[in-house]
Symmetry: C2
Subunit: 205 residues, 2 copies
Amino acid sequence: MKHPPLVETLIEAFTCLPGVGPRSAQRMTYALLERGREQGRELAGALQAAMDGVSHCERCRNYAERTNAEQNLCAICLDPRRDSSLICIVSSPANVLAVEQSGEFRGHYFVLMGELSPLDGVGPRELGLDVLEQRLRDGEIRELILATGTTVEGEATAHYILDLAREAGVSVTRIAQGVPMGGDLEFVDGATLAQALRARRPFAD
Amino acid sequence: MKHPPLVETLIEAFTCLPGVGPRSAQRMTYALLERGREQGRELAGALQAAMDGVSHCERCRNYAERTNAEQNLCAICLDPRRDSSLICIVSSPANVLAVEQSGEFRGHYFVLMGELSPLDGVGPRELGLDVLEQRLRDGEIRELILATGTTVEGEATAHYILDLAREAGVSVTRIAQGVPMGGDLEFVDGATLAQALRARRPFAD
């Protein structure tokens, strides 16, 4: 004897979320069935809309909603007041929000959506570094600011990008003091990030 | 600068789940957008189907799928081989599963979907105890087996039901040794629950 199939299916479906095991999934299912049917329907609608409607910006790889425009671009890449020759490289959309909140940066981003991790099958192509390489060669980029994490994978990614930029003759800087070693960028406060952006230095091995 | 609206809406929607704060919600959203669009769509479908299609059994209050039948009944209440004069009272559908897994019980259930908690606005009517009272008076119930939790709320609920049954002249038993004090029924193993069902005793104040 089990739950009715619709209930079992929902419990099973919840376990696809990170950090959600069978017991949490059951608790979520009960909570929505008992006290939150309307919220459950809203969540269903939001999920469906996001899965179908969220794409990636064709220039910076950040999240962008699908439009009928010729090129799918995010709000930052479309903003004419921002400096498109200055590119800040981050590993996730959350890190874009963190840098934006520092109020110190008015250039564009390049969002890796991950960091180099060959054992997990994440190589340069998965991070869009072939696209970045092409853009570096096109000569429209004046400076790359590296703001990847200070973990092993973040360091490896930073060095890989440093090599690409040197080959293309583009100067590379890196956000400086204030980013705690081993920490993830999205947990750093805005004032520290502003200081790190102001104190950026040439990147060397 | 924030995420695109579809992304923000999904993050916000996830926080309706128990134990999910803004940061977990963001992690879930990124995970589905990056690596699980198809799973995300399945979750959306399962949510919508469960929110619309799951109802409560009109006899025992357990989850049951909506049907076109005159009465909406669960699989246990529809099973002609089970003894409908023996009713086991539990506080949640998870506890029905736990008792079923003990293999010791072939009667029906009455699922309270909660326990008495006046401060949270949960009174007898919210637990369907007015319905249970009517059924006790109808004379079709031979024995009530109390299997509510051993918490303060569970004890209060058990005593309330004991009074109802006494007034109707129905005998009341309670599952015995093996249920740890202060624990929730769904965490008890099947063998312990089987022993508790076999060793049930008349319930007294």
